[in-house]
């Protein structure tokens, strides 16, 4: 279901994740590379497995920033290109108005070739879903 969401929304083929296992814990899902030594984590008291890939936010499923940064370059749709000034506006908590070529919901934000993370498109406006603290740290000059 989680990978089919990525295929449906962004065109990232489920096949991309054939070498990974997903683990759930509370309201998050974690992605771990498959290994021949999969018995190791089973026999240890493990506090975290792999990369946090999805969170459940209310009734919605949200891929994490790091998940999108890793796999977002496979996306064929649901991608919005921002420039530096757009990124600065997002980091200030402002929204970006866009023409309605993308369905409402999460969109992948890209600066040139670099996949930044997720935004949320609603009523023709995109807001950032990247942690504000991290965005504010970035100096674009």
């Amino acid at each position: 279901m989680l990978f089919s969401y990525l295929e449906e929304r962004f065109g990232i083929h489920e096949q991309t994740f054939v070498d990974f296992d997903l683990f759930s814990k509370r309201k998050s899902w974690w992605l771990l590379r498959k290994t021949a030594n999969a018995y190791l984590p089973v026999r240890l008291k493990v506090s975290q497995v792999g990369l946090r890939a999805f969170d459940k936010v209310g009734k919605y499923l949200k891929p994490t920033t790091r998940m999108i940064q890793l796999f977002g370059h496979h996306a064929t749709r649901g991608v919005h290109q921002v420039d530096e000034s757009g990124l600065q506006r997002l980091s200030r908590g402002e929204s970006l108005e866009i023409d309605g070529l993308i369905d409402e919901g999460f969109v992948i934000l890209r600066l040139r070739e670099q996949v930044l993370g997720l935004g949320l498109l609603a009523q023709g406006k995109i807001t950032s879903r990247i942690r504000k603290y991290e965005l504010n740290q970035i100096s674009l000059s």
Binding site: L51, R66, E134
Partner: protein, 300 residues
Amino acid sequence: MRLFEDYREFIPDFDSFLESLERPLPNHLRVNRLKTSPASVIALLQNKGIFLKPAYIGNDTLYEAPRDLLPGRLLEYFLGYIHPQALTSCVASLFLAPRANSTVLDLCAAPGGKTSHVAQLMANTGIIVANELHLRRHAPLSHTLSRLGVLNTVLTAYPAQEFPLRESFDFVMADVPCSGEGRWRFSRGPYSTAESKYRTAMVEAQKKMILRGFDLLRKEGTMVYSTCTYNPEENEKVVDFLLGHRDAELVPLDYVPGIEPGIPRWRKEDFDGRVRGAGRFYPHRIDSVGFFMAKICRRG
């Protein structure tokens, strides 16, 4: 000034060593091949007027950036393309040289620089158990690993010296807690060493950790024992302790410009002569954090 004076007898060119402590630590960066390529990062930074210098001959992922650069504020940091990491810290992972698809234990993993470097050297294959006793250090460890796109790691929180023996690993990284003398520079404020009682306790813990790290190795497995301190009590003496208690073999380290051999004698105590095969890094020989490393193999 009696700063590090006790070490004058074994640190070569001691006055140059002291002079090197006057300089601030250089700004070293590792390019994260899990997410990008060195050529891409060099080009991206050049477009911003930032020029990187290669920092390690024969390795295209380690660079020195301008001293006034704040790497944590770069977009490339947020994207996980780069990781600020001391050059000598990177050398420890290069010495370990983990194979793809192998099993690795990082005994004291936080803040995750070496763990993520090991993951990079394994191309995100196999599995790494990143162990960190202190739960408060799991957040920065987890942040480092996720930012750098590490996908082959599980986190545990055992005391390193009590890590369960029911597992065994192809590689063990034992970068153990230490007095941290190698990180000290004048620009970082007054020098202070830990109380001698505390340091003694630390050495005892280090001995237990090196034994446990070795016992967790598979046959023909490899361990790197490292500290960022000059103190022989925490270095050669700990390795000597291992050699006296286990059938361990010290593996010669690859040549790195500036590396110095381990010292076989300290304060009238002779160590196993094989400790000469360990490596010492001083800031006047390789401009980075001072380090000690020993590569240890479990016989087949």
